[in-house]
Each structure stands twice: as C-alpha cells, then as structure tokens.
C-alpha cells in the first residue's frame, strides 16, 4: 500500500528532533503539510525520530481534529456551523457547498480534490458566515449575491476607546509603526518586584475568562523556587463568539510580545510560548515576522535573555484550558490536569509558569506606559481598564468594541445598532432583541429587561451573567433559541476531552436531549434529565469545560422556561 514516498520525511522532521516529545505537534503539522495526511508509516517515522511510543503518537493524532489518519482532499473547506454563523445562513452555505461538490458534510470528493467539514466556531463571528479555506479566511459569504472575501480577514474595530486597539483596523502594525518597546525599557529599569507591584496596583485581572488578578499570578511564579520558568501566551481563542485575540494578534502583534517580555522580566523567565489556535493559520506568519523584528531590535533572543516560540494548536477547544495547553506543548493529548498544583508553581514542563490571555498581555505595556494610577481612571473602581467586547449576531454593526468598564449593555447595543426602540418600523430588517448570549458557549443569556446592566465584573456577576471572553451575541425576536442551544450542545460534545465521566458522557447525553428539543421529539422527563446532567457536569467535572458545558442551557431553562415545555 505504500505509494507514499517516505524519503523526504527525515529532512522534514530533523528540526524537531532536538525537541523530543515536545516537538510532536510541530512535527505532525510539518509532516501533514508535506503529505496531506498522516499514514501509519509517517506516524511511525515521527515516533522513531522523536523517540515517542507509537501508541502515544497515534493517540495524539486521534485527539486533534486537524490531524488526519486517513486521506483527505487537496483542499480543506471548513464551514463554521456555530451559533453566530448559523444566524447568517451557515446551514444553507454548508448544504450549498456539499451539493456543489456532490458530497455530504465531513466527506471527501471521489477525485480527492476537496473535503468539506462542518467546523466549530472559527473566530470570524463578526463576518459571518465564515469558512476556513485551506489556510485562508473566507468571510461574509453571501449565496444570493455571490459575494465573499478571501484571504486575511478584516478587523472591524469600534467603540469610544482606542487604547488596546490603537494599532488595529489598518492591517498589521510593524515595529516601525509600533515604535520602540518604551514600556519594556521602563520596566527593565525597575526591579521585578516593582513591576509586579505596578500590575497589582492597576487592578488588571485576566481577560481569558477566569478573571484572576494578573499581579497575584505573576507574584506566585516570581516567588516559586526554580531557575527555569516560562511565560505562556494563551492564543487558543476557541470560545464560540470570541474573536478579539485574532484582531489583536493580526493587527498589533507587538503589544502582546512586549507584554510577554515584561512578564518574563517580572518573574525571571527565559523562555516563552505563544500557543496559537490551529484555525488561525493566517496569523502564524504575522507572528513569526513580528518576533523576528523584535529579535533584530534586541528585545528578544541573544543578550535579552528571553525568547519566544510559537506553537500551533491542532483543533481542540480544550487546549485553551491552561493545563491542557501545557500538555499540548509537551506533545500529548490535551487532557487538563488536576489542580492543585497550579501553573505558577507546576506549569509547563512542571516548572513555574505564568499563562495569560492575549488581551491581558496587551494591557501590560499600556499599564507600564500610563502608570497604574492613570490606567485606573479608565473603567470603574472595581473593574478598572479598557475591555474588548466581541459583538456578533443580529446587530447592524458587528465587530470588536473597545469600551471602558461600566458602559451598559443597552449603550453597547445602541453603538452596534442592535435594538429597535419602538416596534412597527421596518420590520423586514429591524427586529426587537430577544436575548444576548453573554460570555460564549460557556455563558448565559441576558434578556431585554437586563439592558441596564453595567458591563463590569461586579455588576455582571450580580446579574448572573459571566463576562467570560467578552462575547455579546445578539438574537432578535425571530430566532429560535433552541437552535442555538442545540448547536452549543453539539459543540461541547465535540470538544469534551473525554477524561472525566461527568463531561465525557454528560456532553453526549446533553446533546442528544437538545437534539430532541429542536427536532420536536422531546420525551417526557427530558427537562429533568437535562437538569440532572447539567448540574452533575457543573458540580462534578474535572475542569472548566465540563463545569460550564451546561451553563447556557441551565440559563435558558431559567430565563425562557416556555422553550422547554415540549411543544415546538
């Protein structure tokens, strides 16, 4: 069966050999790029080159959606079918493409020219419906007019503030445009403890979802014993509805890199990683060239004592969970670890590690430049600073909104042109708002009665709405929220890692019940089953994925009980 020419494999794998097991994902990416897929012989070659057990190599290929152990088409067409794209006709688009190629979703054409996949959220939600066409973004696809945009996605940036987004919206800002790393120069003149004190004083908390105080995290890693420490940038952005990190990295890579460099100084790290989600391949060259610019300017590498490597994920939402991300960099299946111990003492390769979200890191140079006191004048007392919101769905101006904390949901909706005050105007296009999904798939629904809620950590918490990764997905009155819930159910079942029982089986059972809900085969007792599965996942799962996999469903059951009475 071996028509595959294995001769080039040695050469392809050579750069990854010194990395050992940690080189597994990059090696598999490189091999797949050459051969299109990963056959048994190729996998065995990778195993031998890196000294990884055969079964483990297979286990890793099997875990990640973007690795293929069977042949696929020469073109990969991944159509997003998650809620934001679904609102803009993703199902029709997928059906149209499948008809055109004469195949079903997740099949390859007989001539091997193309594979079409139904994909989880691609992080292009504000330009829906979206496709990942090989390594390019295809956005704003309109079947009626035939319009679409292919290549680098646009970066629609709005809102009253332009601090985090000051360099966004006009293509990539190279080092010449970004300017010298002034915040870094300032930080390097300060003792590490003082930098940490400044970050603490700013009140910055993580923007990746967990809202953990960044200064406290840095302190933990700085205090942890050990010479070898790491700074990791979490650019796995896979929460449905989230696209902020895509825009930050594509348009302004240097603010994140400078933030990482400052973190390295603060904790005494010599090595950093940016873990970029596999569905953002078009960001990879931008990051590589920005890192090279920073090296040439002396900010990274050589005498600076700190360098950064980019690692590309391979299709696994769970790898955004910090410990699963470490496992992935280490060349393993992305299984989250039991905590404690925490990353600050036992992180990447078991060493003290600071892991921060892209947006968190982008705040760091801003804080150092402005000074914590000035920075705190933005936002509210308890939620200082600027915040990015990812607005998608039924609004006139979907996009990235930079706001000071404290703006109300209603004000944000006004900016986005999303709610119509009085009915009876142009009902063809102007519909009333029904609900807002807050925080992403792991989020909760807000109703129009909650438009006055202030967008701050404390106000949202009081309203039972998670800020999460800043997702604000709007559904107008014509939408059936059950459809969105069924898609979220499918998302979580697809993305559960399978490690702990509540999530492994709960996401599957939840998906099955939600499918009955949308298909109109709701069975007696399904509401109780949904509650029991949901609460069991919430209460007993090992990591944040399972603990929030039922959040949107349980929130909808509370806010919109009529949706679950069995009728359609």
């Amino acid at each position: 069966m071996s028509e595959i020419n294995l001769a080039p494999l040695d050469k392809i794998l050579r750069p990854f050999v010194p990395l050992g097991r940690s080189g597994l994902l990059p090696a598999l990416h490189a091999a797949q790029k050459q051969y299109g897929w990963l056959s048994e012989e190729i996998a065995a070659g990778v195993a031998a080159a890196l000294g990884v057990p055969l079964a483990d190599v297979h286990g890793v290929i099997e875990f990640y959606s973007l690795f293929y152990s069977a042949p696929v088409g020469r073109r990969m067409i991944r159509v997003c079918a998650d809620p934001a794209c679904a609102l803009k006709g993703a199902d029709d688009l997928l059906a149209h493409l499948c008809t055109h190629h004469g195949i079903q979703p997740n099949e390859t054409t007989p001539d091997g020219s193309a594979t079409i996949e139904r994909s989880p959220c691609l992080g292009l939600c504000e330009q829906a419906p979206a496709i990942l066409f090989d390594d390019q973004a295809e956005t704003n696809v309109d079947l009626k007019t035939g319009h679409y945009e292919l290549g680098r996605p646009r970066s629609p940036v709005y809102g009253p503030l332009r601090l985090l987004t000051r360099n966004c919206g006009n293509g990539t800002t190279f080092l010449a445009g970004y300017g010298a790393y002034a915040a870094l120069q300032k930080a390097l003149k300060m003792p590490p403890a003082e930098v940490i004190a400044e970050i603490k004083a700013s009140g910055l908390v993580g923007r990746g979802g967990a809202a953990f105080p960044t200064g406290v995290k840095w302190q933990g890693a700085a205090d942890a014993p050990g010479e070898e420490k790491y700074v990791v940038c979490n650019a796995d952005e896979s929460e449905p509805g989230t696209f902020k990190d895509r825009i930050l990295l594509l348009d302004d890579p240097h603010s994140t890199i400078e933030g990482m460099r400052i973190a390295a100084h603060a904790i005494g790290a010599t090595k950093g990683y940016i873990y970029l989600r596999g569905e953002y391949p078009y960001i990879l060259p931008v990051l590589e060239s920005a890192l090279n610019e920073a090296r040439q300017a002396g900010y990274l590498g050589g005498a600076s004592g700190f360098d950064i490597e980019v690692r590309l994920g391979a299709g696994a939402y769970i790898c955004g969970e910090e410990t699963a991300l470490f496992e992935s960099i280490e060349g393993k299946r992305g299984f989250p670890r039991v905590k404690p111990p925490f990353p600050t003492t036992h992180g990447l390769f078991g060493k003290p590690t600071v892991i921060n979200n892209v947006e968190t890191l982008a705040n760091v140079p801003l804080i150092l430049s402005m000074g914590a006191a000035e920075y705190r004048k933005i936002g509210t007392e308890k939620s200082p600073g600027p915040k990015l919101f990812c607005v998608s769905g039924d609004v006139k101006k979907p996009g990235l909104y930079e706001l000071p904390f404290g703006v109300t949901l209603g004000e944000l909706m006004e900016m986005a042109g999303g709610i119509i005050a009085d009915a009876g105007t142009d009902l063809e296009t102007d519909k009333r708002m029904q609900a807002v999904l807050f925080g992403g798939a792991a989020g909760a629904f807000a109703t129009p009665e909650q438009l006055d809620v202030k967008l701050t950590f404390e106000d949202l918490r009081a309203a039972g709405l998670p800020l999460g990764s800043g997702v604000v997905m709007v559904f107008d009155e014509s939408r059936d929220l059950r459809d969105a819930l069924a898609r979220l159910g499918k998302f979580f079942a697809h993305e559960s890692c399978g490690k702990c029982y509540p999530c492994q089986m709960g996401t599957q059972r939840q998906m099955e019940i939600l499918e009955r809900l949308v298909n109109g085969n709701w069975l007696p007792g399904d509401a109780e089953r949904l509650q029991d599965v949901g609460w069991t996942m919430t209460d007993a799962s090992l990591c944040g994925l399972g603990q929030t996999a039922a959040a949107a469903v349980l929130s909808a059951m509370k806010q919109f009980p009529a949706l679950f009475d069995g009728g359609r």
């Binding site: 297979h58 099997e62 079942a493 399978g498 029982y501 599957q508 609460w535």
Partner: protein, 229 residues
C-alpha cells in the same frame, strides 16, 4: 500532629497527606470509587467519589483531595447523591455493565435507573480476539485508564496502549488499531489484572463462560476481530 476535620458530623483525626477517601474510611464511612486503584496514579476520572466540602463551590473528588484542618465534609449530601446517581445512570446508558458487579451494586444503592436515558447512543465496539492470552471487549470499557497506566509509567513501561477518538468517542487503542501481537505488548497480563469491568478478560475464562470444554479452548486460536453476537 494530626489533621482534624469533620466528616458527616463526626470528628476525625488523620495523618497529613491523607485523602478524604482514606479519611472517611478511617471513620468507618464508605465513599464509592470506580477509577481509583491502589496500584495506579489517581487522576480523578470517574468523579463517583465526590463529596461536598463546606466553603468550596464545587464537589471535590475524595480520591485525590487531601484532608485539611477544620474541613467539614459531607459524603452524602443531596448534591453528592444527584451527581453519583446521574453518573451511574449515564454509565449504564453508555456501556455494558453486565460484568461489573460492583458498579451494579452501586446503582442499586443509589436507586440509579439503568433506563434513565432513553434513545442514548451506546458505545458498542466489536469484540477483539487477536492474541492467545486475552480478549478485549471495549463495549464494557468504562475508561478508567488503568490498563493504559499499568502498560506505561505505572508499571510496565511497554507503551502498547493509548486512546483513539476523544470525548464520548474515546476508546482504548493500539497504534493504528494494530492487533496486540503487532504492538510492543509483552503479554505481562497486568492490564487484565486491573480491569474492573471484564472488558479485558483472560481467554480461558471467556471460553469457560461460553460453556466451551478444554479441548475446544485449546483449538481456538488467535487472529481476527470477531463480530459480537
């Protein structure tokens, strides 16, 4: 210096480093387990051992969480029972538990209904008969990971087993599903020894169960995947 805590209202003193599972046992209270095994590293997979600890938002897996001074633990609160019962019901709707008497006994104890989840997709896999020593029936596998663990760093360092798929589709697998003799397996039998569900079974035992005589057993040889009947 002992650690003092309270379990189900009862004061208990244990050595530092004692898990809540162990501490409960010392107090004469049984907390159920499925994935836990004394010979393998605990990864807290099954979560059947969860308990409620005052002041903690989520239920805590007793098999790995250590006792701390002043902890107040409930091993049978309403939340705990709901989680255990639901996990058991989901298991029964996913895999064949007919060879897992301990889990079946737990289902009785918690009033878990085997038919709680109708129209559920079950994990059904062909019976694998590919070597002279043991059979693999992953329709009975509860994914406790023990076999993978003893095959790797917990004992044998053979690394014949890992996983295929992910999430609900996860399955114990060899490299590209090769038959056992074509893997690094040395037939030490440790995986069979730690399997709690009959998913891994000595061939001899299987054949006796099927009512075969010793001669038939001797004749039966290895080879292919055999379709389940």
């Amino acid at each position: 210096m002992g650690i003092q805590l309270e379990i189900d209202g009862q004061p208990v003193t244990v050595e530092p480093g004692t898990t809540l599972l162990e501490a409960a046992k010392q107090a004469g209270i049984t907390v159920p387990t499925i994935c836990w095994h004394e010979a393998t590293t605990s990864y807290a997979l099954c979560r059947i051992c969860v308990v409620e600890v005052a002041g903690m938002r989520l239920l805590q897996p007793g098999c790995i969480v250590e006792a701390a001074d002043g902890m107040r633990v409930q091993t049978r609160s309403e939340r705990v029972v709901r989680a255990r019962k639901t996990i058991l019901e989901m298991l029964a709707s996913s895999v064949d538990l007919s060879d897992s008497p301990d889990i079946l006994a737990l289902m009785d104890e918690y009033g878990a209904l085997p038919e709680r989840f109708p129209e559920a997709e079950r994990r059904e896999v062909e019976l694998m008969d590919d070597n002279p020593m043991y059979l693999r029936d992953y329709s009975k596998c509860v994914l406790c990971w023990r076999c993978v663990q003893v095959c790797a760093e917990d004992a044998q360092y053979t690394f014949a087993l890992s996983f295929s798929g992910r999430g609900y589709e996860t399955e114990i697998a060899t490299f590209f599903d090769r038959p056992m003799p074509a893997t690094t397996c040395v037939f030490c039998g440790q995986c069979v020894g730690v399997c709690p569900t009959g998913a891994l079974k000595p061939k001899r035992e299987f054949m006796l169960e099927q009512g075969m005589g010793p001669e038939e057993i001797a004749v039966m040889s290895s080879g292919r995947k055999r379709k389940r009947t």
